[in-house]
Chain length 246, copies 2
């Protein structure tokens, strides 16, 4: 009896050792496309993967972001300018990626780009404010993913979508949570769909990290104060001055 238990424990340890030993090889063969590399997570990730020898294709929203990243990385890393909410921009960048990676396909896609949107009470916003944040954080991610999916499938690669803890707990005001909840649904649906093609889909759900984006609390406070004074009288009356002090 004890021998059986011992054998099982040994088998388990061997399995775990085996699993942990399967560290990825030939990193220098692999292309990774990352969105939102101007600052924050995207920027850090681009630099780290570049250091480890990967072929990083880093998309930035601004020329300045791309230039700064170039200065801090090797000549392997290539940048492109991308506003993920602009369909034409997305499809031209997808063509560029296809051209660069060629028959190798795209081994990694990291959907990191995003905006906080207006972090003020819902009752202060209009439909268009929600559309704006959805258009970047959700529809932009969908657009980039679907445009690059054939290349990821070609490489039997992986997709990493940056969601947020707000993708599970909508504890901030504004449209951000709606978009991040959508990211969770999109990622989970995609995960099951492309599993058959050898493609893995993961999500990352950061909490409050000190990236270059201002902390949510600061943004919320500032947005709320700025916006309050622009509200129509009816909304101002309903929420009241004391709402700002909460």
């Amino acid at each position: 009896m004890w021998l059986v238990v011992l054998a099982l424990v040994v088998l388990l340890l061997v399995y775990r050792w085996h699993r942990q030993s399967r560290i990825l090889e030939n990193l220098s063969d692999k292309y990774v496309f990352i969105t939102g590399c101007d600052t924050g997570f995207g920027n850090s990730l681009a630099k780290q993967l570049d250091k480890r020898g990967m072929k990083v294709l880093a998309s930035c929203l601004t020329e300045k972001g791309a230039e700064n990243l170039k200065k801090e990385t090797s000549s392997r890393l290539q940048t492109t300018i991308l506003d993920i909410s602009d369909s034409k921009n997305v499809s031209s960048v997808a063509e560029w990626v296809s051209h660069v990676v060629g028959d190798k396909g795209l081994w990694g896609l990291v959907n990191n780009a995003g905006i906080p949107g207006q972090l003020v009470p819902l009752g202060w916003l209009k439909k268009n404010d929600f559309l704006k944040v959805l258009d970047v954080n959700l529809l932009g991610m969908v657009d980039v993913t679907l445009s690059l999916l054939p290349l990821v499938i070609k490489a039997k690669g992986r997709i990493v979508n940056v969601s947020s803890v707000i993708g599970r707990l909508p504890v901030i005001p504004g449209g951000y949570a709606l978009a991040k909840f959508g990211v969770e649904a999109f990622s989970d649906t995609l995960r099951r769909e492309v599993n058959d093609f050898g493609v893995k889909v993961s999500i990352v759900e950061p909490g409050a990290f000190n990236t270059n984006i201002q902390s949510f609390l600061t943004v919320i406070k500032k947005n709320t104060e700025d916006k309050f004074h622009l509200l129509p009288a009816e909304t101002k009356n309903i929420y009241g001055e004391q709402y700002l002090k909460k």
Copy 2:
């Protein structure tokens, strides 16, 4: 000791009896606005609340839907035509509601209208397909809610958003789950926001109900078959004919 337990049990029973006895009074005083009353849940709810004496304002997508509903209900029930994805339509209907309810405010808002969207694999869709289903199921609901919110606050009323079991488990293809996840985030954020104003927000998460909308499975099968033959060659090759037989 046993006396304390007995006392607690009695207290609990009294509390439950009290809670259950708080059935809503003066139903005939109260206005309820319901979207999507052409068929399905919206239609049934409009008829039921009308029967119970409430003042039902039923919005339908089509003239025909409104006419049919009128035939089956009392003269108390009023209909209006509303495509919730059309901002101008939403704001003119909100004005109409404001005019009808007057100082009483809107005691109930039921956001029921929705569309299934294209229920096919994500890799077969474009950004616009997702935008379409989000524009009705999520942004349309947001628009209607924000436009009527001051009237609901006036009546210290309640908002009921029809989400779906798909709002928690994204087990169908297409953009429907993205929208319903967003509905969950929107409703939960709103719930906390308007609680201070005496407004309650609830969600309903139906599973597979036999409403007039065809069952999801049938729609998914049909959509998938129809759409497959229209796919570009590259996508067709990736997914393959056998995908239809899964």
